[in-house]
Amino acid sequence: MYENAKEQIENICKLADECPELYRVKAFEILLRGYVDSLLPQRTVQPATNVAAVAPPRPHADTSWTATVPQEVQPRLSAMAQRRKLPPEKLAALFDFSSDPFTFSPLHVTGKSTKDRMRNVALLVGARAFLATGRWVADWAEIKAMCTHQNCYDQPNFAATLKKEKGETLKNVTPGNNVELSARGTDQAEQLLATLAGVTDVAEQ
């Protein structure tokens, strides 16, 4: 085991001597320990393939989002996230639950035209109403307010645009009161939320 120990220790002494006097003893100890350790039997390393075969520990489901979301909203939000194959925390992040009643987090509603954006706003407001009350009914004034916020409020054509959606994405349109989303509307509203939540990231996972 220590066949050429004398030679190795002489080398260690030479190296230690080259260090400043203050560090010579410490350097000698470190070098000697290194030499001794190099002679000890090495711990067997598992082949890389075995490492890969071991499943990584399953991450615990992130439930921190539930802390801020009102209890009444949680089941509807979770179910919607499940339907759209979204992590619920991503969906929850689209809303600001720090205010009561909850509002939308800052988000940008896109669309090909102002009319398209107004329609998308109505669908999103309907989705928020569903999460809050369980009914896909969007308040007229809330749609208007969000349209002004999103800078897509076309005052002369606002009512006409929503009325045109009747039979398409909207089931009922009562100007000045509310709009009720149709089955197609609810589906598109959920799709819109999924897009805003970044569903493409999820698909890549």
């Binding site: 009102p70 009444e72 909203v73 205010s99 009561d100 009643p101 909850f102 509002t103 109403a129 809050a132 009350t133 308040d139 004034a141 809330e142 749609i143 208007k144 307010a145 969000m146 002004t148 916020h149 409020y153 005052q155 000045g176 009161n177 509310n178």
Partner: protein, 272 residues
Amino acid sequence: MLPSSDALEVLLEKAKEISKALARLHGAEVTRQDLKESLASLAREWLRFSPSIKEAGCCKPDTIATYDGAMGDLLAGTGTRARASALKKKLDIFCSSLLDDVVVPLIQIEGSPRHVAARQVQDALAGQLTPEESAYFEEAARCLTVQCFRAAIIMLWAAAIARLHGAVVKRGFDSFNKAVDATVARKGAPFNRVKDSAKLSSLPELQRSKDSDLLVIGMELFNLDLQAYQELDRLLGIRNDCAHPGMNQPGALDVQQFASKLRTYVFNHVTP
């Protein structure tokens, strides 16, 4: 009362129409009586809305004062000889920036989730309430808009009890007392809570009676089953929590849920 943004949009459209009509007259004196009347009516309508808009605090007071001044001048102008161009100049102050200065801030208020929640509570029972119940609901809605959720729950419960009291009076105290007898004859909870002394002969006595007793007797009187009773008893518990000091902190959704349950178990079930 604060006008709706829809009402102001209609007013703005009217102002734009009048402005177009004035533009066609160029600098000539306005002699058409119908035009003068439209202008006067527009100005009066604005001046009627203006104080409540100012009070709401959603717009700059200076801006409202400018519009008030322009509309006051227009109103005065309709009573004297005035050129169309002069009137149009005043009116255009109103037409050019009312949307951004007043209508949009008003839309933001109307569309805020608190106001939406308040409207949802009111709309949930629209057309089903008596004037007395309606007053409590309106007050609950107002409480919601200023985030007084405990007060809103108390008001909603008051509306429900008003419905039950009204129903007792309508059915007559004899029916009520028979229901008391039937309740007392039953054994076990919750019937054993009610004593024979719960019998009544006047409205003041009814008003002094305990809500919890009324719910138990209501099982007999209004054909409420045990589940409906238990749900109402829980709602009474929530109401009591809201009315007494404690750590209970209901939110807007709790108020909405409370209203929704009252609708199911009281307003849809017990006719006034």
